[in-house]
């Protein structure tokens, strides 16, 4: 059942899915795996973590928030959530932008695994330029 607090238990064979998908990966912790890809604009590491209830795909940071986030960047991110499917943009406690896909462990299939990897990589590549532009606008306005 859904719960805000989740414990980690092994339930899904992520290494098997990676092998089938044809992407290299490394195990970086209990039920946590790192992979990555090079898009048209940048290279992105992707973490895949399995919890008791969820399989979570994350790119963090998608964009660093070293000097805080300006208005243009914040609005671009909030609206990116509206126009994108399957993925979620947010800010972590350090102020960095993350991009994530969360799917239930219950019923998790290879098709969902491949859909999630495709969605997070496509979205990261698609939005990274507009986010960098938004950040540049904010920097210019603050100077």
């Amino acid at each position: 059942m859904w719960s805000p607090d989740q414990e980690v238990t092994p339930t899904v064979d992520i290494p098997l899915f990676f092998e089938r998908y044809g992407w290299k990966f490394e195990t970086v912790g209990p039920h946590t795996y790192r992979t990555g890809f090079r898009g048209n604009h940048d290279a992105f590491p992707v973490l895949v973590r399995v919890t008791q209830h969820w399989v979570v795909f994350t790119i963090n940071p998608l964009l660093r928030g070293d000097n805080g986030m300006g208005a243009t960047t914040l609005l671009t991110l909030a609206q990116s959530n509206h126009v994108s499917n399957f993925v979620k943009f947010g800010l972590d406690p350090e102020g960095d932008v993350f991009l994530t896909v969360e799917l239930p462990v219950d019923g998790f299939t290879y098709v969902q695994f491949s859909d999630a990897l495709r969605a997070i990589s496509h979205t990261a590549d698609q939005f990274s330029v507009s986010l960098l532009q938004a950040q540049a606008i904010d920097r210019a306005q603050s100077n």
Binding site: W2, Q6, M69, N81, K88, L103, G107
Partner: protein, 149 residues
């Protein structure tokens, strides 16, 4: 393909009716792909729309708060929304170009079961209640006529 899609939606539509009954919530069926339900929480009354497509099922509260028109308040709401997205599972907050905020859960139809349905409704109602005040505070931050508690 269209016929297959119709069959999928018909089956899912029937399933959703059963799921609502099992969950114990009343609902209204607008058509085979659109349902409405709702609840009264600690912070107000919410309508939840459930929409199905060929591959996805969406649970959505929209608008989550009144449209935010003040440009600076809109930025504060965006900031609140993005931080909230870090703290919640399964759901996400979003803002459209008009400054309207939504709270939604998106799940694949493939493998969709009653436990997913129940989790989605539980999550969206929990998060709506849990985050409403923070969003209203952010939206009202530049409202000079706001009463201070």
């Amino acid at each position: 393909m269209a016929a297959n899609s119709d069959v999928i939606h018909d089956t899912l539509s029937t399933q959703l009716g059963r799921y609502f009954d099992e969950y114990g919530w009343q609902f209204e069926k607008n058509n085979d792909t659109l349902f409405r339900t709702g609840f009264v929480g600690d912070t107000g009354q919410y309508d939840i729309w459930i929409r199905t497509t060929e591959h996805w099922i969406y649970f959505m509260i929209h608008p989550f708060i009144d449209p935010v028109t003040h440009p600076a308040a809109r930025v504060e709401v965006a900031r609140t929304l993005l931080h909230a997205n870090f703290t919640i599972n399964m759901a996400k907050f979003a803002m459209d170009e008009a400054g309207e905020v939504s709270l939604s859960v998106e799940l694949p139809i493939d493998g969709f079961s009653y436990s997913h349905f129940a989790d989605a409704l539980t999550a969206i109602s929990h998060y709506a209640d849990d985050h409403k005040q923070a969003f209203e505070d952010a939206a009202a931050i530049f409202d000079l006529n706001r009463e201070v508690a």
